[in-house]
């Protein structure tokens, strides 16, 4: 299936599923709090089913996480009814719940820096009467909460004595093919409903709603002419719920860190960890990765115009962010009002593709040397990345321009060439694509596009070149503002690495007879075995 076809199918399924399962009225929990219906959340792996490497990583994370000052007493009630049976034995469901709640406890102890954690009590399966609506927890939540709470009380665990109550039901009532709701969560509040999944990211996400956090979104903006751009006036931007692939309150299946607006909303990012930029002077900040245990600066809040506030943070593949995609690594910029009650935020896509889709949402970060200029003229420049990222924020910047030409390095390879180049001066708008031109001494020429939209890379291997000819290689870069000139051409003559043989036996000139044993070692150029 082509990429576009996959996207079309995924989109259609989500739209149909949303129409089928989204309740028409705002749902409320037994305490009268609003409940968020998570129909667009993709469950990641369950902690109990994690790979050995993931299990090792989670054990390390658990050991590193600070102790919690406040342990939220959490009751988990697995529920079934006639027509929606148990999906595992009592022992197994308890094991699964303990594994996921251990992961959630580690997560919250880590990101809250020891402010909260979870201590969990899990009951055996509790049978309740069949809900009036056969399928869909968004319709059954009231019935489940009422009946399962009564059953829990009978089992000696009164839900009103707990800080969090999680009901887990299987998906059997709806059938295996049902694209259901992964979970529901009071926002804020203390109730969670899970349907057919005990995925770590879903549990952490719903517990995030309990803390009062909304979703982390993705901003899809276009110019007046309909071309994709990083940010435009509000009427030219759409917000994709869950589209933030780094944040567990978006759609990070591996439960990555809350983004800076969420942490700030919870009061978990303050003091030296958060800088506020309102100055008209250019200022450079040294950001620690959000997932690091450092108490030093991790995010900058930058006041823009027209009610905009930008949040700048640095993401690396480390700690709880260890599995984020390559296109999410680097400096990320979000929009989010500091006063937003639910900590709402939208990540800005620094490398917007022609279409906004699931793939495009995975490449949003600025890498080293890259810069972006906001509509009001604030330029964010990433000076360097590594253990820290140095980011300069400069107001009243000139409008972004097309990039400068890159400077390529070209190495001859066997019947080919390897071309690499550094990030060029992008003049205020990130490079989206490179083009590599290879001109042969016989006058023919081929162009190769190196898009940054799915996988940022600045190397290209050109195979199939004739070693009897000389080639001239040049590179140019394109950003939103236009295309650079071609770089100065670099000449290369491909290598011709012929196979060789080393004899070990018999010796040269030896006398032989009968069965002759010949020992030798062949050597072939890489990729040319035959």
């Amino acid at each position: 299936m082509t990429r576009n076809a996959r996207v079309a199918v995924l989109t259609a399924v989500i739209l149909v599923a949303s129409a089928l399962v989204a309740p028409s009225a705002t749902a409320v929990d037994p305490d009268g709090n609003r409940v968020v219906v998570d129909h667009g959340l993709r469950p990641g792996p369950e902690a109990d089913h994690a790979s050995p490497s993931a299990a090792r990583a989670s054990a390390v994370a658990a050991a590193k996480a600070p102790k919690a000052k406040k342990k939220l007493k959490t009751l988990v009630v697995p529920v079934y009814w006639s027509g929606a049976g148990k999906d595992s034995s009592n022992a197994t469901v308890k094991k699964r719940v303990k594994a996921v709640m251990k992961a959630a406890d580690t997560y919250y102890r880590t990101v809250s820096r020891g402010r909260i954690g979870h201590s969990t009590t899990v009951l055996s399966w509790q049978k309740i009467s069949r809900p009036p609506v056969a399928c869909g927890i968004s319709y059954q939540m009231e019935h489940i909460a009422s009946k399962a709470s009564a059953r829990a009380k009978k089992a000696g665990k009164n839900p009103s004595k707990f800080d969090r109550v999680i009901f887990y039901v299987t998906q059997e009532a709806c059938g295996a093919d049902h694209w259901g709701v992964a979970g529901l969560g009071s926002m804020p509040g203390r109730y969670v409903w899970l349907e057919g999944t005990l995925a770590t990211n879903v549990v952490i996400h719903e517990l995030g709603h309990n803390l009062g956090l909304g979703h982390s979104s993705y901003a899809e903006c276009r110019t007046k002419k309909g071309k994709r751009t990083v940010l435009a006036a509000a009427k030219y931007c759409a917000t994709h719920d869950y589209g933030d692939m780094s944040d567990v309150m978006g759609n990070n299946p591996d439960a990555g860190w809350f983004s800076a607006p969420k942490l700030a909303r919870l009061g978990w990012l303050k003091g030296k960890a958060l800088a506020k930029n309102t100055s008209t002077r250019s200022k450079t900040y040294t950001l620690r990765p959000l997932s690091s245990s450092s108490k030093k600066l991790k995010a900058v809040r930058v006041k823009g115009t027209k009610g905009r506030t930008y949040w700048v943070e640095y993401r690396t593949r480390s700690g709880l962010d260890g599995r984020i995609g390559r296109g999410l690594e680097g400096v990320q910029i979000r929009l989010g009002k500091p006063s937003a009650f639910y900590g709402d935020s939208s990540v800005l896509d620094m490398l917007p593709g022609p279409e906004s889709d699931w793939f495009d949402q995975h490449t949003v970060a600025l890498g080293a040397k890259a810069s972006w200029t906001s509509p009001e003229g604030i330029r964010f420049t990433v000076r360097s990345t590594g253990k820290t990222a140095k980011v300069t924020v400069k107001r009243k910047s000139a409008k972004a321009k097309k990039p400068s030409a890159p400077t390529p390095k070209v190495t001859a390879t066997d019947l080919g060439a390897k071309v690499s180049w550094g990030y060029p001066k992008d003049n205020g708008s990130p490079v989206l694509t490179y083009q590599v031109r290879v001109r042969s001494s016989d006058g023919t020429s081929t162009d190769h596009d190196v898009s940054q939209l799915e996988k940022p890379t600045r190397t290209l291997t050109v195979p199939g070149l004739d070693p009897t000819k000389t080639y001239k290689v040049s590179v140019r870069a394109r950003n939103e503002r236009g295309t650079s000139s071609w770089s100065k051409a670099v000449s290369v003559k491909p290598l011709d690495v012929r196979p060789t043989v080393t004899f070990h036996a018999p010796a040269k000139g030896a006398n032989v007879k009968g069965t002759v044993r010949v020992e030798l070692t062949p050597t072939l150029a890489k990729g040319s075995a035959s």
Binding site: P499, F503, A510, V512, G514, V516, E519, T521, P522, S530
Partner: protein, 73 residues
Amino acid sequence: MWVSLVTIDGGFENYLATQGFSDWDGTLATGRRVTAQLAAPAVGSAMSAVIRVELYDSYGRTTTIDLPVTLVP
């Protein structure tokens, strides 16, 4: 890759025994030692011969190396 025992008589090459190796069947890999067993015919008197290795790569490039030996009775 072909490993052969060859006699050369006045410009005429006589392949007495040959064994083939290929990465397709896993018998050939770059940098890995290969052992060939060639059955030499009985001869009445000593004669000059070569162990010839013809190595081809997937781009069609060939290397031919002859190791001189003497075939003895």
